[in-house]
Symmetry: D2
Subunit: 368 residues, 4 copies
Amino acid sequence: MKRFALLLLTAGLTLSLPAQDGPRQNINIPDIPGYHTLKGDFHMHTVFSDGLVWPELRVIEAWQEGLDVIALTDHVEYQPNKDDVGDDRNRPYVLAADKAKELGLLLIRGGEITRKMPPGHSNALFLKDVNKLDTANWQDAFAEAGKQGAFVFWNHPGWKAQQPDTTLWFDEHTRLLEQGLIQGIEIVNYREYYPEAFAWALEKNLTIMGNSDIHGSIFQEYISSGPVKRPLTLVFARERSVEGVKSALKEGNTAVLFDGNLYGRQEWLKALFAACVGQEVNAAASGSEQHSIFLTNYSDIDFRLIPGKDAMKNHLIYPLDLPAHSTIVLSVTPRQLGGPGKLSLPLGFTVDNMFVAPDQKLEVTIRF
Amino acid sequence: MKRFALLLLTAGLTLSLPAQDGPRQNINIPDIPGYHTLKGDFHMHTVFSDGLVWPELRVIEAWQEGLDVIALTDHVEYQPNKDDVGDDRNRPYVLAADKAKELGLLLIRGGEITRKMPPGHSNALFLKDVNKLDTANWQDAFAEAGKQGAFVFWNHPGWKAQQPDTTLWFDEHTRLLEQGLIQGIEIVNYREYYPEAFAWALEKNLTIMGNSDIHGSIFQEYISSGPVKRPLTLVFARERSVEGVKSALKEGNTAVLFDGNLYGRQEWLKALFAACVGQEVNAAASGSEQHSIFLTNYSDIDFRLIPGKDAMKNHLIYPLDLPAHSTIVLSVTPRQLGGPGKLSLPLGFTVDNMFVAPDQKLEVTIRF
Amino acid sequence: MKRFALLLLTAGLTLSLPAQDGPRQNINIPDIPGYHTLKGDFHMHTVFSDGLVWPELRVIEAWQEGLDVIALTDHVEYQPNKDDVGDDRNRPYVLAADKAKELGLLLIRGGEITRKMPPGHSNALFLKDVNKLDTANWQDAFAEAGKQGAFVFWNHPGWKAQQPDTTLWFDEHTRLLEQGLIQGIEIVNYREYYPEAFAWALEKNLTIMGNSDIHGSIFQEYISSGPVKRPLTLVFARERSVEGVKSALKEGNTAVLFDGNLYGRQEWLKALFAACVGQEVNAAASGSEQHSIFLTNYSDIDFRLIPGKDAMKNHLIYPLDLPAHSTIVLSVTPRQLGGPGKLSLPLGFTVDNMFVAPDQKLEVTIRF
Amino acid sequence: MKRFALLLLTAGLTLSLPAQDGPRQNINIPDIPGYHTLKGDFHMHTVFSDGLVWPELRVIEAWQEGLDVIALTDHVEYQPNKDDVGDDRNRPYVLAADKAKELGLLLIRGGEITRKMPPGHSNALFLKDVNKLDTANWQDAFAEAGKQGAFVFWNHPGWKAQQPDTTLWFDEHTRLLEQGLIQGIEIVNYREYYPEAFAWALEKNLTIMGNSDIHGSIFQEYISSGPVKRPLTLVFARERSVEGVKSALKEGNTAVLFDGNLYGRQEWLKALFAACVGQEVNAAASGSEQHSIFLTNYSDIDFRLIPGKDAMKNHLIYPLDLPAHSTIVLSVTPRQLGGPGKLSLPLGFTVDNMFVAPDQKLEVTIRF
């Protein structure tokens, strides 16, 4: 009833009511100069493999949660519900396409090449016919994906079920990379972050991905069970379209947002921080004795700044928390900063939740 | 991956990992003397009619949300996904049964008799074979439900799509009632409350029901979109079993919790309030001048007490909010209540969120 | 320690650390053309009358909660802490002024003329010397406020302690109004809304006020105890300054936000709704069969639209919830709206939470 | 108005209304055998030193937040508001005592001996006359505290303003310890945890304390600004009285709860875990193939269990999250655990948020 309301008359006439799919909670992560910042999830399952929801629900969930683009990536080789729903691997996309169009959500046809390690599981996106990836050996599946012009990335490379002790890069991955048959890698899957994969991505020029790999309901798995939301792959795209996303993924224009942390190449994170946080000196609040510096976070992401050595020397000894949509004030006395005429002292901070490498955080400068 | 994890090896061997379905958030609504207070939802859909989730997910959702008992009630006559999933109306129950057993959730086989008004839609629970309800005329469907010993209730009697202007009781309902083929009525469905249905339930001795009629994901529809949770039918059952629920429903031992309000017959609501709220006089806090009366709410339900005339004369002029798991204190000075030796003044209050009839709230007495 | 950190050395030397007063959670209620939408609270108490906090904390609380302007209005005639803190009625403003300047919060010197009914309690803002309002009879206090150029409003006109049975307008109020000694009226105080006062405000051209009258901690009273935040007087000011606020209050350029509802004159609420909610037709989501209309709420206020008669005829029979920072979609089929070439059908809606009079809600038109 | 309502009549008559101080949100941390688990905060400031609230508000805040016992500990040697409120160091206790009695909250008279390092700041509790601690040299202040039978603990031993580089234990502390003039130490203050202090506490048999050191409003500092609540000293007391608390503190019967973590001696944490978490095998959910083990968390504390080696061998490879008031289920197949007749396999887990030493977590055994 109600939202998904269809009034059935026994005479057979069906009267359609205007569908209302509940509100979309917009995510405020700003665009960066020259690029749209699209919020994507490129790894999800439906009842057509081992997921627990109908394809259309993935679209509704993603739209409501504020995403811009998703890929349906059911297992190509594993269909436990086959007796009930058949084994046409293109069916999920077809069943979800109308709702995606109605909601203006970008929908990508994909599939998960599900093999033992090596090479493990991989997602192929932008496929034309997913069924053709159902091949006897995995090499043929990757070749077919390549033939269809797909963007392919290695899934959950540190998954303990396949890499119980250490997270290894195999020769098979090297070969796929050299053949151009793999272009990306998940550094976050579901609730796990793989620092090794992040290092490989930077080193081997792989596109950084972070996805939910959701099987149940997204709201049940993440939102109702605590503050951790599903991982997002932020895609910096020159245009908001499936083609725009494809280009961006192939060029490596991504970052990952998970559990309050951002992971990505320095140039993207730097641009994103600059788009999220602004600085202001409130004249009304300044006198000869003291000045107030205001930092405002315009985004939905909480930031934390760790003072560098020079800042600490100026008595900024505690971390600065700058939650989403908040402003903090720093009262600066001339004594500390060299007098009213010398307000432009640059002080370095580390952004505690922005990782430009597994062991390295983004550094920014704020002028006082 | 992860929770619903099945590790697929290409060799075909499947190794099962211990399933973990996320935590169950227990609902604290206490038992009442002689009865378990079971939390139920007896109206829900899956992909086997026009729902958007697999039957097993309904079990997982309900368990995680703290429910004790659910019924799957897909439309008997309406199966838009038939080409994909077939039309066996017993299939949803079968597909959900193992998970329900594993989690200790009571699962009821049901179906929604989906006809135009009159008599509109009705749910039949505790069926043996749902397929047999697919009859040409609705009278036969109700007769078959009766033959199978079902408990049947009228769904969303005030649904505007079927009752656009006024909510009417038809002769057809009178006949079903007289034949013993309908025993309950929804007074709450999804996000709507029908006061007319509540009045009929009291007048015609129908069991009061409040259900979600969920089609999408329960967490998406309710929990992520605001503080209003799914309606619950509270079942006061002498034993925690499917049989215990059946007896309780047939005897009318229910109340409905929706959007912070409770609806039910006076005897059940009175017992429930007494189980939820306790009173204490803290000796340490009492002197010759003043006494402190403590009221504690031990339940997850927020209560609000409206002072009656005598209470207002004693200067209790504001409503008393008693949120879930909170204690409030009332400071009583002897002057107001006749001196330290006269502390047992009974004062009447109305429980603002407990309805014993559409226009009547539960009245309780607190001694000061 | 920490935030309010002052390192005491026994030698007597005090070393000041940069103060950090915690983040300000910005309130997103947009400006309207020609005006700043300032968030204000013009009624609050400190330890200098019967409040429980130091004046400076009022400034910090308000800044952190996202307010732009506050008035300290301790009782002129009632000082239960006099033996501890003295009775200089200008002291609260003085003790709070530095912090307000540092944070860029507009601070107004005020006092509450606290008399029995009639005329009850009234706040005088923009005073020069609050002590001079301590007069034997109340007429002199109002006259003194007038002499100081104050803006004066009647507080909690429906407070049951002073108006136990009905909310009355007295001859004394008529006289004050005629003398120009009262220019505004609280229609919301603490957690109470007075519809009679709203009607008087519209009828007698009084400025509409809604204030907290806070005595304890604002976070304890409102934020920690549920979703109801303190009432706000929205001030539409041509400039962001104490003078700008004074002009706006004297001109009646206000609205009140309380418990999700807005109260105000039609012209202000209409402009505010237009600034909060935008409409878009997503071309990508439109085909020959169906069009998608998107409504986006850019503000922190939840809106609910009730379809009018024409909308209901077009099957929009349910209220449209448009929560803060959300987008909803309406799928429009040509059949309903006269075909793809006829998309500009205007349909009327009532904004359920915007009151332009006690019994009248704002009406808006949306084109489909 | 409202809660702290006092109706002033100009004639001078004051009519007192029954005070209602808002609901107390009860904290559910269970008692342990033989002891009450009291929730305490033993370090807080008011306007009588450099705090921003009136003493009575500390009582109201603590009661509403669910605490059982607090100490007011204004600086003995630092009174920036002296010109406004005087310098009687016993005044805060006197001004708060009536409200504490009314609410049944245990209130302790204390003071903060505020000296440069060494020995830094220390709190003395259960004082008879705080003014007598205002001595020229700090040795005399500690001696006086000892004379009054006080319980004394070292505050924020790792505070960067006094210990900028490393956290040091000074000879002065050794001497105080040897003289029996210091019996406890804060291992958590405000938002900081000091592992060095935790190690010293275990090594030197000091009572473990964790306190807020609150200066502003408790709700503003903690509750409104995120999920981190104020640190609590859990006191395991044989009776619920000021004397009971004194004995427990002198005997070292405490643990600290901060930011979801518990710190304490092994015996206390073990007893607390056993009181919080229960295990059940649901017979209905067990068959020949599979058994369901239910773990229920009855407390307000979220727990996380990390599987030990043996558990991991049995495929329990992921941490088990057991949020407050939740139940989790573990499905155990006979193959894993040796068949239906061998269900009592003990498996070891580490409780991820219970620290029995700076680098050591509590270990527990669960039988499968």
